[in-house]
């Protein structure tokens, strides 16, 4: 509650429109956060997180940081959450959280510890933030939001910024190294495929299916050539061939139609 009250004080210091937007979007953000924890399906949880991130972005914009807000939408909501969704969709839509408790009483302890942690964090934060005055954006007049961020990022915080980008690049390259599988043999393009297909001695057309011209269309029945002999290309590697004798293939009068 202290957080909310504090935020309300902050909101009152801004304009009335800001307060209205805050009171509309803050419950949505909290609901999104709760949805992230409580929803059973992974995709719903990811969507709730996306909603919370969007609300945060609008808060940034309301706090006169439009660049930060839109970058939050583009990078976090647009790219990172989209990657999460991508992975979750690949897992399949039926994957749900198992509600089976592997450790007895684990859930109770988890709830207690979680509530305690939240209380600890929020009280500490509230103590740290209380009594702060909302300051006007610093910097010389006539300098925009973007210029100030650029100046901070590329002068004061240049080294941490470069380190972070280096770490991210290493992570990406490492993931690529794990996922990369070397191809056996060279890449075969359209030209190689065509050469192989039309090489001397190879029949370029599709192979005959089983049962062509034969007495049965079973997979086990090899195709016959027009002269009655067996077409070897239609023999399956795995299914033992079986050719019906003329007696077997003759009508059995089971339907009582043909005399």
């Amino acid at each position: 509650m202290t957080d909310l009250a504090q935020a309300a004080v902050l909101a009152q210091s801004g304009s009335a429109g800001e307060a209205v937007f805050f009171w509309i979007l803050a419950p949505v953000a909290v609901a999104g956060a709760l949805g992230l924890v409580l929803s059973r399906q992974a995709i719903h949880a990811a969507l709730s997180l996306a909603v919370t991130m969007m609300c945060l972005a609008v808060f940034y914009i309301m706090q006169h940081a439009p660049f930060l807000g839109f970058v939050q939408i583009m990078v976090y909501t647009g790219a990172i959450m989209m990657l999460f969704l991508f992975v979750l969709m690949l897992f399949g839509r039926d994957s749900k959280d198992s509600m089976f408790e592997t450790l007895r009483g684990q859930r109770l302890f988890a709830v207690l510890l979680g509530v305690g942690m939240a209380a600890l964090l929020s009280s500490g934060l509230a103590r740290a933030v209380s009594g702060l005055v909302v300051a006007e954006p610093a910097g010389p007049a006539g300098q925009g939001n973007v210029e100030r961020i650029a100046e901070a990022l590329f002068s004061t915080y240049l080294f941490p910024f470069e380190i972070v980008s280096g770490v991210l690049t290493v992570a990406a390259v490492g993931a690529l190294m794990f996922a990369h599988v070397a191809k056996k043999g060279g890449h075969r393009g359209q030209r190689e495929h065509s050469r192989e297909r039309f090489r001397p001695g190879n029949y370029p057309g599709p192979k005959p299916g089983p049962g062509v011209f034969a007495t049965s269309d079973s997979t086990a029945t090899p195709a016959l050539r027009p002269d009655g002999s067996i077409e070897p290309a239609s023999l399956s590697e795995y299914v033992p061939p079986r050719q019906l004798t003329p007696a077997e293939a003759a009508p059995k009068h089971t339907e009582g139609r043909d005399s």
Partner: protein, 438 residues
């Protein structure tokens, strides 16, 4: 942007109406243009020149049965088209249509809103618009839809990078991120003296930032899922991709979002690279061309030209294979953008303020010529060799021998025999044949 509330509301409604009308017009336009390219009339029944065709199609779609698969995730299934349409319409709010005009005694700009970083709004909205497609595919609970959604996610994320890098060059050049200000920054012409003759080139960024413009246009087509990059809804592979399970108004809203995105991306390209609402000729020709409501004509003319380009691409190019498409995005567009950005930064620092535009153009042109020359005269290219001997079917493509004598057709001979003229079941004739052979 200090408009009274009523003016803001009017502008918002006008932007919405203009977009919807443009979508109706674009669908008709696309079908007519493709028809002309394919030498057929196209829709010409409803209204003059068939202009009401898309309206009729929309009404028809609205009255169709609205189905939902049993395996669908109900909430997400309904939310997905809403997300797609909302993002598409929001993006258009920062596009400037014209300069300041006087409406009922109030000076206002022909733009719904503009602020410090308004170009990012369009990028953010296109990033969020993917959610509509991806969630639609996932929530449908069908394999085709899911495949379409996965393709859409991968495609849009990949091409967003190239798009962002192309836009970044505009930010570099203008040092601005607001749509209205970028249009105004392009208004100054480039004075150029060539052999004593003085003339002025337009200051539009498609000249100064030619590589970025090309990359932007390619990435723009990929970003809007249009042919030849329409892999998420490739009808020959995935039925209708992410929209397979949708029907009625939900399906129509995906169409609406796609066409609105086309219009928005065209408008963004016009704003960033083609001078926005500025007239396509020097001020001295017609001094009043850039004042009042006249710029609306230039703006929508340019947007329609871009839409024609979209349709032209669709009428000309076959769909890319998925791996080729990804190769183009990651191995061509992104590296070229990065190198070009470095070159641009180096030029901006080296030439100091960037006033020396003829030098810059000489630099860019020279670099372009060098790159073209490298591509054409790259030494690893094998010279063309004439085939040593004509292909006779061995090793080459199978061609009939030149001295082919057509053998008599055995079937036509058989029909002449009196024994086969009577109706005998095929099985019976075959078994007698086998007996004779045995």
């Amino acid at each position: 942007m200090n408009d009274p509330v009523w003016l803001m509301l009017v502008k918002g409604v006008l932007v919405f109406v203009v977009l919807v009308l443009l979508v109706l017009f674009t669908i008709w336009y696309e079908r007519r243009v493709v028809a002309i390219m394919q030498v057929r009339p196209g829709p010409n029944r409803n209204g003059p020149f068939g202009l009401l065709q898309s309206l009729a199609d929309g009404l028809k779609l609205a009255f169709k049965e609205d189905t939902m698969p049993r395996t669908a995730d109900r909430v997400v299934f309904i939310a997905a088209p809403v997300i797609a349409v909302a993002c598409a319409f929001t993006a258009f709010s920062v596009v400037p249509f014209g300069p300041e005009v006087n409406v009922f005694g109030i000076e206002t700009e022909l733009q719904l809103t503009d602020f410090e970083v308004s170009v990012l709004v369009i990028l953010a909205c296109s990033a969020l618009g993917v959610y509509g497609i991806v969630l639609a595919g996932w929530a449908s609970g069908s394999a085709y839809s899911l495949l379409g959604a996965l393709r859409a996610a991968a495609q849009v994320i990949s091409y967003e990078i190239a798009l962002g890098l192309a836009v970044l060059a505009v930010f570099f050049q203008s040092r601005l991120m607001s749509t209205g200000a970028i249009v105004e920054a392009q208004a100054e012409g480039l004075p150029l003296s060539l052999g004593g003759a003085e003339f002025t080139l337009p200051g539009w960024y498609f000249l100064v930032l030619a590589p970025s413009f090309v990359i932007f246009v390619i990435a723009m087509v990929g970003e809007t899922n249009r042919a030849p990059f329409d892999l998420p809804e490739a009808e020959s592979e995935l039925v209708a991709g992410f929209a397979t399970e949708y029907s009625s108004l939900k399906y129509a809203s995906f169409f609406l979002a796609e066409y609105v995105n086309m219009v928005t991306m065209s408008a963004l390209a016009v704003t960033l690279f083609l001078g926005g609402w500025a007239a396509p000729f020097p001020d001295s020709w017609w001094p009043g061309a850039n004042e009042g409501f006249m710029p609306l004509v230039w703006f929508f003319g340019k947007v329609l030209a871009f839409l024609f380009f979209y349709v032209w691409l669709r009428g000309t190019l076959p769909r890319l294979r998925y791996d080729q498409f990804m190769n183009l995005g990651w191995k061509v567009l992104v590296p070229v953008s990065l190198v070009w950005l470095m070159v641009l930064a180096a030029m901006n620092i080296g030439l100091d303020t960037g006033n020396d535009l003829p030098t810059r153009i000489a630099f860019a042109g020279g670099a372009a010529i060098v790159v073209m020359a490298l591509i054409f005269f790259w030494p690893s290219r094998k010279p063309y060799e004439d085939p040593a001997e004509p292909d006779t079917g061995l090793g080459g493509f199978p061609v009939p021998p030149l001295d082919l004598a057509v053998p008599p057709n055995p079937r036509s001979l058989k029909q002449l025999e009196p024994a086969n003229t009577s109706a005998v079941p095929i099985n019976g004739s075959r078994s007698t044949d086998e007996k004779e052979e045995g």
